[in-house]
Protein backbone atom coordinates (compact mmCIF):
# COMPACT_ATOMS: atom_id res chain seq x y z
CA UNK A 1 0.00 0.00 0.00
CA UNK A 2 1.36 3.41 -1.01
CA UNK A 3 1.08 5.92 1.85
CA UNK A 4 1.20 9.68 1.50
CA UNK A 5 -0.20 12.88 3.01
CA UNK A 6 -2.13 14.20 0.01
CA UNK A 7 -3.17 11.78 -2.68
CA UNK A 8 -3.64 13.74 -5.89
CA UNK A 9 -5.74 12.25 -8.65
CA UNK A 10 -4.60 13.74 -11.93
CA UNK A 11 -1.05 14.78 -12.81
CA UNK A 12 -1.90 17.81 -14.95
CA UNK A 13 -0.55 21.29 -14.17
CA UNK A 14 -2.89 21.83 -11.21
CA UNK A 15 -2.05 18.48 -9.61
CA UNK A 16 1.67 19.02 -10.15
CA UNK A 17 1.64 22.50 -8.65
CA UNK A 18 -0.25 21.17 -5.61
CA UNK A 19 2.87 19.10 -4.86
CA UNK A 20 4.89 22.30 -4.55
CA UNK A 21 2.44 24.06 -2.26
CA UNK A 22 2.08 20.92 -0.14
CA UNK A 23 5.88 20.60 0.03
CA UNK A 24 6.16 24.06 1.53
CA UNK A 25 3.94 22.76 4.33
CA UNK A 26 6.08 19.60 4.66
CA UNK A 27 3.27 17.48 3.27
CA UNK A 28 4.18 14.67 0.90
CA UNK A 29 2.17 13.93 -2.24
CA UNK A 30 1.55 11.01 -4.53
CA UNK A 31 -0.16 11.38 -7.90
CA UNK A 32 -2.28 8.93 -9.87
CA UNK A 33 -2.89 9.44 -13.58
CA UNK A 34 -4.44 7.29 -16.28
CA UNK A 35 -1.94 8.59 -18.81
CA UNK A 36 1.56 7.09 -18.93
CA UNK A 37 3.22 10.51 -18.48
CA UNK A 38 2.58 13.55 -16.26
CA UNK A 39 1.15 16.79 -17.67
CA UNK A 40 -2.45 15.86 -18.44
CA UNK A 41 -3.92 17.62 -21.47
CA UNK A 42 -0.82 19.81 -21.79
CA UNK A 43 1.28 16.73 -22.58
CA UNK A 44 -1.34 14.60 -24.25
CA UNK A 45 -3.19 17.03 -26.50
CA UNK A 46 -1.18 20.18 -27.11
CA UNK A 47 2.46 19.96 -25.89
CA UNK A 48 3.71 22.12 -28.78
CA UNK A 49 1.06 24.83 -28.45
CA UNK A 50 1.81 28.13 -26.73
CA UNK A 51 -0.05 29.39 -23.65
CA UNK A 52 -0.12 33.15 -23.10
CA UNK A 53 -1.90 33.59 -19.77
CA UNK A 54 0.46 32.01 -17.26
CA UNK A 55 1.46 34.94 -15.04
CA UNK A 56 5.01 36.17 -15.76
CA UNK A 57 5.33 33.91 -18.82
CA UNK A 58 4.54 36.04 -21.89
CA UNK A 59 4.55 32.78 -23.82
CA UNK A 60 5.22 29.19 -22.79
CA UNK A 61 4.70 25.92 -24.66
CA UNK A 62 2.36 23.57 -22.82
CA UNK A 63 5.05 20.86 -22.81
CA UNK A 64 7.61 23.29 -21.37
CA UNK A 65 5.14 24.36 -18.68
CA UNK A 66 4.90 20.73 -17.58
CA UNK A 67 8.69 20.31 -17.69
CA UNK A 68 9.09 23.44 -15.53
CA UNK A 69 6.50 22.23 -13.04
CA UNK A 70 8.26 18.86 -12.79
CA UNK A 71 11.52 20.69 -12.09
CA UNK A 72 9.85 22.96 -9.55
CA UNK A 73 8.42 20.05 -7.56
CA UNK A 74 11.49 17.82 -7.80
CA UNK A 75 12.76 18.70 -4.27
CA UNK A 76 9.46 17.45 -2.86
CA UNK A 77 9.92 13.96 -4.34
CA UNK A 78 6.36 13.22 -5.40
CA UNK A 79 5.39 9.61 -6.06
CA UNK A 80 3.59 8.66 -9.26
CA UNK A 81 1.22 5.87 -10.21
CA UNK A 82 0.99 6.42 -13.96
CA UNK A 83 -1.01 4.56 -16.56
CA UNK A 84 -3.58 3.61 -13.95
CA UNK A 85 -7.06 5.04 -13.45
CA UNK A 86 -8.35 5.75 -9.95
CA UNK A 87 -11.29 3.40 -9.69
CA UNK A 88 -12.65 3.21 -6.15
CA UNK A 89 -12.41 5.15 -2.90
CA UNK A 90 -13.06 3.84 0.58
CA UNK A 91 -13.31 5.97 3.71
CA UNK A 92 -11.81 4.20 6.72
CA UNK A 93 -13.12 4.56 10.30
CA UNK A 94 -10.33 7.01 11.15
CA UNK A 95 -11.46 9.36 8.37
CA UNK A 96 -8.60 8.51 6.01
CA UNK A 97 -9.04 7.18 2.49
CA UNK A 98 -7.92 4.23 0.41
CA UNK A 99 -8.00 4.78 -3.34
CA UNK A 100 -7.56 1.75 -5.60
CA UNK A 101 -6.69 1.93 -9.29
CA UNK A 102 -8.11 -0.28 -12.04
CA UNK A 103 -4.94 -2.35 -11.78
CA UNK A 104 -5.46 -2.85 -8.07
CA UNK A 105 -2.73 -0.50 -6.76
CA UNK A 106 -3.82 0.79 -3.35
CA UNK A 107 -3.04 4.25 -1.96
CA UNK A 108 -3.69 5.42 1.59
CA UNK A 109 -3.92 9.11 2.57
CA UNK A 110 -5.70 11.39 5.03
CA UNK A 111 -6.53 13.82 2.22
CA UNK A 112 -7.53 13.21 -1.40
CA UNK A 113 -7.33 16.03 -3.94
CA UNK A 114 -9.04 15.36 -7.25
CA UNK A 115 -7.30 17.33 -9.97
CA UNK A 116 -8.73 15.25 -12.76
CA UNK A 117 -9.33 17.89 -15.42
CA UNK A 118 -12.08 16.75 -17.75
CA UNK A 119 -11.60 13.19 -16.55
CA UNK A 120 -9.32 10.30 -17.34
CA UNK A 121 -8.25 9.92 -20.94
CA UNK A 122 -9.70 6.90 -22.66
CA UNK A 123 -9.20 5.72 -26.23
CA UNK A 124 -11.65 6.95 -28.83
CA UNK A 125 -13.24 3.88 -30.35
CA UNK A 126 -14.27 4.04 -34.00
CA UNK A 127 -17.93 3.29 -34.67
CA UNK A 128 -17.37 -0.18 -36.13
CA UNK A 129 -20.01 -2.82 -35.35
CA UNK A 130 -18.85 -5.65 -33.04
CA UNK A 131 -15.62 -3.79 -32.22
CA UNK A 132 -16.05 -4.34 -28.50
CA UNK A 133 -16.76 -8.06 -28.97
CA UNK A 134 -13.19 -8.50 -30.20
CA UNK A 135 -11.52 -6.48 -27.42
CA UNK A 136 -8.82 -8.70 -25.91
CA UNK A 137 -9.46 -11.13 -28.80
CA UNK A 138 -7.48 -9.22 -31.39
CA UNK A 139 -8.62 -5.63 -30.90
CA UNK A 140 -6.62 -3.29 -28.66
CA UNK A 141 -6.43 0.50 -28.31
CA UNK A 142 -3.07 0.61 -26.55
CA UNK A 143 0.07 -1.36 -27.24
CA UNK A 144 1.16 -2.67 -23.87
CA UNK A 145 3.42 -5.55 -24.80
CA UNK A 146 4.78 -5.37 -28.38
CA UNK A 147 5.91 -8.99 -28.11
CA UNK A 148 2.38 -10.30 -28.53
CA UNK A 149 2.52 -8.98 -32.10
CA UNK A 150 5.67 -10.91 -32.97
CA UNK A 151 5.25 -12.75 -36.30
CA UNK A 152 1.58 -11.78 -36.45
CA UNK A 153 -0.44 -9.87 -39.02
CA UNK A 154 -1.31 -6.44 -37.61
CA UNK A 155 -3.58 -3.73 -38.99
CA UNK A 156 -3.28 -0.24 -37.53
CA UNK A 157 -5.77 2.55 -38.27
CA UNK A 158 -5.29 6.30 -37.73
CA UNK A 159 -3.36 9.27 -39.05
CA UNK A 160 -1.61 10.74 -36.03
CA UNK A 161 1.69 10.19 -34.30
CA UNK A 162 0.73 7.04 -32.42
CA UNK A 163 -0.48 5.29 -35.59
CA UNK A 164 2.74 6.20 -37.38
CA UNK A 165 5.08 5.47 -34.48
CA UNK A 166 3.61 2.07 -33.73
CA UNK A 167 3.57 1.11 -37.42
CA UNK A 168 7.28 1.92 -37.54
CA UNK A 169 7.99 0.02 -34.33
CA UNK A 170 5.96 -3.05 -35.24
CA UNK A 171 7.45 -3.22 -38.76
CA UNK A 172 10.43 -4.96 -37.12
CA UNK A 173 8.34 -7.18 -34.89
CA UNK A 174 5.24 -8.31 -36.74
CA UNK A 175 5.06 -10.55 -39.78
CA UNK A 176 3.00 -7.92 -41.60
CA UNK A 177 2.02 -4.35 -40.71
CA UNK A 178 -0.74 -2.57 -42.58
CA UNK A 179 -1.55 1.08 -41.89
CA UNK A 180 -4.97 2.34 -42.91
CA UNK A 181 -5.95 6.01 -42.94
CA UNK A 182 -8.83 7.97 -44.36
CA UNK A 183 -6.63 10.31 -46.35
CA UNK A 184 -3.24 10.21 -48.03
CA UNK A 185 -1.83 12.89 -45.74
CA UNK A 186 -0.73 12.14 -42.19
CA UNK A 187 -0.63 14.75 -39.43
CA UNK A 188 2.13 13.12 -37.41
CA UNK A 189 5.70 14.40 -37.05
CA UNK A 190 7.44 14.85 -40.40
CA UNK A 191 10.27 12.41 -39.66
CA UNK A 192 7.73 9.71 -38.72
CA UNK A 193 5.87 10.26 -42.00
CA UNK A 194 9.15 9.98 -43.90
CA UNK A 195 10.11 6.83 -42.01
CA UNK A 196 6.78 5.19 -42.88
CA UNK A 197 7.32 6.20 -46.51
CA UNK A 198 10.74 4.54 -46.42
CA UNK A 199 9.39 1.36 -44.80
CA UNK A 200 6.60 1.30 -47.36
CA UNK A 201 9.06 1.40 -50.25
CA UNK A 202 11.05 -1.42 -48.62
CA UNK A 203 7.83 -3.43 -48.39
CA UNK A 204 7.91 -3.54 -44.58
CA UNK A 205 4.69 -1.55 -44.14
CA UNK A 206 1.67 -1.81 -46.35
CA UNK A 207 -0.21 1.48 -46.65
CA UNK A 208 -3.88 1.55 -47.60
CA UNK A 209 -5.19 5.09 -48.14
CA UNK A 210 -7.65 6.71 -48.41
CA UNK A 211 -9.57 3.92 -46.77
CA UNK A 212 -11.18 2.85 -43.54
CA UNK A 213 -12.02 -0.30 -41.64
CA UNK A 214 -15.79 -0.74 -41.70
CA UNK A 215 -16.29 -4.22 -40.23
CA UNK A 216 -14.54 -7.03 -38.38
CA UNK A 217 -14.92 -10.78 -38.74
CA UNK A 218 -13.78 -13.93 -37.05
CA UNK A 219 -15.16 -16.66 -34.84
CA UNK A 220 -14.31 -16.24 -31.16
CA UNK A 221 -11.28 -14.19 -32.14
CA UNK A 222 -10.44 -11.64 -34.81
CA UNK A 223 -9.57 -13.17 -38.17
CA UNK A 224 -9.73 -10.11 -40.40
CA UNK A 225 -11.28 -6.76 -41.24
CA UNK A 226 -13.40 -5.36 -44.04
CA UNK A 227 -11.88 -2.29 -45.64
CA UNK A 228 -13.69 0.32 -47.66
CA UNK A 229 -11.60 2.16 -50.22
CA UNK A 230 -13.61 4.47 -52.44
CA UNK A 231 -16.60 2.53 -53.77
CA UNK A 232 -14.88 -0.81 -53.19
CA UNK A 233 -14.98 -3.05 -50.16
CA UNK A 234 -12.59 -5.90 -49.56
CA UNK A 235 -11.50 -8.21 -46.78
CA UNK A 236 -8.05 -8.52 -45.29
CA UNK A 237 -6.90 -11.20 -42.91
CA UNK A 238 -5.19 -10.16 -39.69
CA UNK A 239 -4.54 -11.34 -36.15
CA UNK A 240 -4.70 -7.88 -34.58
CA UNK A 241 -6.53 -4.63 -35.29
CA UNK A 242 -5.28 -1.56 -33.44
CA UNK A 243 -7.38 1.58 -33.99
CA UNK A 244 -5.38 4.61 -32.80
CA UNK A 245 -7.67 7.65 -32.93
CA UNK A 246 -6.44 9.53 -29.92
CA UNK A 247 -7.92 9.82 -26.47
CA UNK A 248 -10.93 11.61 -25.03
CA UNK A 249 -11.51 12.44 -21.37
CA UNK A 250 -14.32 10.90 -19.35
CA UNK A 251 -15.13 11.72 -15.73
CA UNK A 252 -15.34 7.95 -15.30
CA UNK A 253 -15.52 6.14 -11.96
CA UNK A 254 -15.10 9.38 -9.95
CA UNK A 255 -18.69 10.17 -10.89
CA UNK A 256 -19.74 7.29 -8.63
CA UNK A 257 -17.79 8.32 -5.52
CA UNK A 258 -20.77 10.02 -3.90
CA UNK A 259 -19.54 13.49 -4.76
CA UNK A 260 -21.99 16.21 -5.73
CA UNK A 261 -21.72 16.57 -9.50
CA UNK A 262 -23.04 19.42 -11.59
CA UNK A 263 -22.52 19.71 -15.34
CA UNK A 264 -19.89 16.96 -15.42
CA UNK A 265 -17.84 18.70 -12.70
CA UNK A 266 -17.49 18.28 -8.92
CA UNK A 267 -19.16 20.93 -6.79
CA UNK A 268 -16.83 22.52 -4.24
CA UNK A 269 -16.87 25.19 -1.60
CA UNK A 270 -14.94 27.97 -3.24
CA UNK A 271 -15.48 30.48 -0.47
CA UNK A 272 -13.18 28.42 1.73
CA UNK A 273 -10.96 25.62 0.52
CA UNK A 274 -12.31 23.78 -2.55
CA UNK A 275 -13.52 20.88 -0.42
CA UNK A 276 -16.29 18.67 -1.83
CA UNK A 277 -19.39 17.47 0.00
CA UNK A 278 -17.20 14.69 1.48
CA UNK A 279 -14.83 16.18 4.11
CA UNK A 280 -11.23 15.31 3.29
CA UNK A 281 -11.86 15.10 -0.47
CA UNK A 282 -11.02 18.26 -2.39
CA UNK A 283 -11.46 19.02 -6.09
CA UNK A 284 -9.19 21.53 -7.83
CA UNK A 285 -8.64 22.73 -11.37
CA UNK A 286 -10.87 22.01 -14.35
CA UNK A 287 -12.64 19.14 -12.59
CA UNK A 288 -14.46 21.37 -10.10
CA UNK A 289 -17.29 23.84 -10.39
CA UNK A 290 -18.54 26.76 -8.34
CA UNK A 291 -20.26 30.06 -9.15
CA UNK A 292 -17.99 32.01 -11.48
CA UNK A 293 -15.67 29.07 -12.19
CA UNK A 294 -13.15 29.53 -14.98
CA UNK A 295 -11.29 26.53 -16.37
CA UNK A 296 -7.87 28.12 -16.53
CA UNK A 297 -4.50 26.74 -15.45
CA UNK A 298 -3.81 29.87 -13.42
CA UNK A 299 -7.07 29.39 -11.49
CA UNK A 300 -6.07 25.77 -10.82
CA UNK A 301 -2.79 26.97 -9.28
CA UNK A 302 -4.68 29.24 -6.88
CA UNK A 303 -7.13 26.52 -5.96
CA UNK A 304 -4.26 24.07 -5.33
CA UNK A 305 -2.62 26.56 -2.96
CA UNK A 306 -5.71 27.11 -0.82
CA UNK A 307 -6.50 23.39 -0.83
CA UNK A 308 -3.06 22.62 0.66
CA UNK A 309 -3.58 25.08 3.53
CA UNK A 310 -6.88 23.40 4.37
CA UNK A 311 -5.35 19.92 4.02
CA UNK A 312 -2.64 20.92 6.51
CA UNK A 313 -5.28 21.97 9.04
CA UNK A 314 -7.13 18.71 8.51
CA UNK A 315 -3.99 16.58 8.97
CA UNK A 316 -2.57 18.64 11.89
CA UNK A 317 -5.60 20.26 13.57
CA UNK A 318 -3.55 21.34 16.61
CA UNK A 319 -0.55 22.80 14.80
CA UNK A 320 -0.23 26.55 14.45
CA UNK A 321 0.94 27.65 11.06
CA UNK A 322 1.71 30.99 9.45
CA UNK A 323 2.21 31.26 5.71
CA UNK A 324 5.75 32.24 4.78
CA UNK A 325 6.99 33.78 1.53
CA UNK A 326 9.39 31.42 -0.28
CA UNK A 327 11.75 34.40 -0.61
CA UNK A 328 11.90 34.53 3.20
CA UNK A 329 11.62 30.88 4.16
CA UNK A 330 13.41 29.30 1.22
CA UNK A 331 12.61 25.80 0.08
CA UNK A 332 13.59 22.71 2.05
CA UNK A 333 13.29 19.69 -0.18
CA UNK A 334 12.54 16.23 1.16
CA UNK A 335 15.71 15.22 -0.67
CA UNK A 336 17.77 17.32 1.76
CA UNK A 337 18.26 20.13 -0.72
CA UNK A 338 17.80 23.72 0.36
CA UNK A 339 17.18 26.79 -1.75
CA UNK A 340 17.21 30.23 -0.21
CA UNK A 341 17.64 33.84 -1.16
CA UNK A 342 21.29 34.89 -0.92
CA UNK A 343 22.05 36.93 2.18
CA UNK A 344 22.94 40.55 1.70
CA UNK A 345 26.62 41.32 2.20
CA UNK A 346 27.11 44.28 4.48
CA UNK A 347 30.43 45.97 4.23
CA UNK A 348 31.53 49.13 5.95
CA UNK A 349 33.35 51.92 4.18
CA UNK A 350 36.43 53.09 6.04
Amino acid sequence: MIKTDILIIGAGPTGLFAVFEAGLLKLRCHLIDALPQPGGQCSEIYPKKPIYDIPAFPEVLAGDLVDNLMKQIEPFQPGFTLGERAETIEKLDDGTFVVTTHKGTKHHAPVVAIAGGLGSFEPRKPPVANLEDYEDHGVAYFIKDPEIYRDKKVIIAGGGDSALDWSIFLADVAEQVTLIHRRNEFRGALDSVEKVQELKSKGKIELITPAEVVALYGENKLEGVTIQQGPETFKKECDHFIPLFGLAPKLGPIADWGLEIEKNAIKVNNALDYQTNIPGIYAIGDVNTYPGKLKLILCGFHEATLMCQSAFQRIFPDKKYVMKYTTVGGIDGFDGSRKEAPKAVIKSID
Binding site: I45, Y46, K49, P126, G159, R187, A248, L251
Partner: protein, 111 residues
Amino acid sequence: MEQQDIKVTIIDLNGNSHTVDAPTDINMNVMELVRSYELAPEGTVGICGGMAMCASCQCYVLSDHNLPEKSDDEEAMLADAFYVKANSRLGCQLHIRPDLHGLILELAPDR
Protein backbone atom coordinates in the same frame (compact mmCIF):
# COMPACT_ATOMS: atom_id res chain seq x y z
CA MET B 1 -25.12 45.63 -29.42
CA GLU B 2 -28.31 44.14 -30.86
CA GLN B 3 -27.43 44.81 -34.51
CA GLN B 4 -24.20 42.84 -34.13
CA ASP B 5 -26.02 39.61 -33.39
CA ILE B 6 -26.89 37.07 -36.04
CA LYS B 7 -29.23 34.09 -35.83
CA VAL B 8 -27.75 30.61 -35.86
CA THR B 9 -29.82 27.44 -35.69
CA ILE B 10 -28.26 24.45 -33.95
CA ILE B 11 -29.82 21.00 -33.89
CA ASP B 12 -28.71 19.19 -30.75
CA LEU B 13 -27.97 15.50 -30.28
CA ASN B 14 -31.62 14.84 -29.42
CA GLY B 15 -32.76 16.38 -32.69
CA ASN B 16 -34.12 19.54 -31.05
CA SER B 17 -33.63 22.74 -32.98
CA HIS B 18 -32.45 25.92 -31.22
CA THR B 19 -32.26 29.27 -32.97
CA VAL B 20 -29.95 31.46 -30.93
CA ASP B 21 -28.49 34.96 -31.08
CA ALA B 22 -24.79 34.89 -31.85
CA PRO B 23 -22.59 37.95 -31.35
CA THR B 24 -20.24 38.84 -34.21
CA ASP B 25 -18.07 41.29 -32.31
CA ILE B 26 -16.32 39.13 -29.70
CA ASN B 27 -14.46 36.67 -31.92
CA MET B 28 -16.78 33.82 -30.90
CA ASN B 29 -16.89 30.51 -32.74
CA VAL B 30 -19.61 27.92 -33.17
CA MET B 31 -18.11 25.62 -30.51
CA GLU B 32 -18.24 28.43 -27.97
CA LEU B 33 -21.77 29.27 -29.05
CA VAL B 34 -22.85 25.68 -28.37
CA ARG B 35 -21.22 25.82 -24.94
CA SER B 36 -22.55 29.23 -24.00
CA TYR B 37 -26.14 28.17 -24.74
CA GLU B 38 -25.47 24.77 -23.11
CA LEU B 39 -26.74 22.87 -26.14
CA ALA B 40 -24.56 19.84 -25.29
CA PRO B 41 -23.48 18.51 -21.88
CA GLU B 42 -20.60 20.49 -20.36
CA GLY B 43 -17.29 18.73 -20.84
CA THR B 44 -18.35 17.03 -24.10
CA VAL B 45 -17.80 19.88 -26.56
CA GLY B 46 -14.61 21.87 -27.05
CA ILE B 47 -12.41 19.52 -25.06
CA CYS B 48 -9.18 20.88 -26.57
CA GLY B 49 -10.45 24.40 -26.09
CA GLY B 50 -10.69 25.24 -29.79
CA MET B 51 -7.31 24.20 -31.20
CA ALA B 52 -8.71 21.81 -33.84
CA MET B 53 -7.01 19.07 -31.86
CA CYS B 54 -10.06 17.03 -30.93
CA ALA B 55 -13.24 16.46 -32.88
CA SER B 56 -15.65 17.06 -30.03
CA CYS B 57 -17.21 20.10 -31.75
CA GLN B 58 -17.81 18.39 -35.09
CA CYS B 59 -21.04 19.53 -36.73
CA TYR B 60 -22.81 19.14 -40.06
CA VAL B 61 -23.52 22.33 -41.97
CA LEU B 62 -27.07 22.13 -43.32
CA SER B 63 -27.46 25.60 -44.80
CA ASP B 64 -25.92 26.88 -48.00
CA HIS B 65 -23.45 29.41 -46.60
CA ASN B 66 -20.12 30.34 -48.03
CA LEU B 67 -17.82 29.06 -45.30
CA PRO B 68 -14.09 29.64 -44.98
CA GLU B 69 -11.86 26.90 -46.40
CA LYS B 70 -10.72 24.21 -43.98
CA SER B 71 -7.22 24.66 -42.66
CA ASP B 72 -4.76 21.76 -42.79
CA ASP B 73 -5.29 21.26 -39.05
CA GLU B 74 -9.04 20.99 -39.48
CA GLU B 75 -8.74 18.64 -42.49
CA ALA B 76 -6.33 16.42 -40.55
CA MET B 77 -8.52 16.32 -37.44
CA LEU B 78 -11.63 15.49 -39.45
CA ALA B 79 -9.69 12.63 -41.07
CA ASP B 80 -9.37 11.08 -37.60
CA ALA B 81 -12.93 11.92 -36.51
CA PHE B 82 -15.90 9.58 -36.63
CA TYR B 83 -19.28 9.93 -38.43
CA VAL B 84 -17.68 12.40 -40.82
CA LYS B 85 -19.77 13.53 -43.79
CA ALA B 86 -19.02 15.81 -46.72
CA ASN B 87 -20.58 18.72 -44.80
CA SER B 88 -18.66 18.08 -41.56
CA ARG B 89 -16.82 21.00 -39.96
CA LEU B 90 -15.19 21.63 -36.61
CA GLY B 91 -17.32 24.21 -34.82
CA CYS B 92 -14.25 25.80 -33.22
CA GLN B 93 -12.97 26.75 -36.66
CA LEU B 94 -16.17 28.53 -37.70
CA HIS B 95 -16.06 32.09 -36.44
CA ILE B 96 -19.32 33.95 -36.07
CA ARG B 97 -19.39 36.59 -38.79
CA PRO B 98 -22.24 38.76 -40.11
CA ASP B 99 -22.43 36.76 -43.37
CA LEU B 100 -23.20 33.57 -41.42
CA HIS B 101 -26.63 34.93 -40.46
CA GLY B 102 -29.15 32.11 -40.83
CA LEU B 103 -26.51 29.34 -40.51
CA ILE B 104 -28.03 25.95 -39.71
CA LEU B 105 -25.90 23.27 -38.05
CA GLU B 106 -26.41 19.85 -36.57
CA LEU B 107 -24.12 18.50 -33.85
CA ALA B 108 -22.36 15.30 -34.94
CA PRO B 109 -22.63 12.27 -32.64
CA ASP B 110 -18.84 11.95 -32.32
CA ARG B 111 -18.43 12.37 -28.59
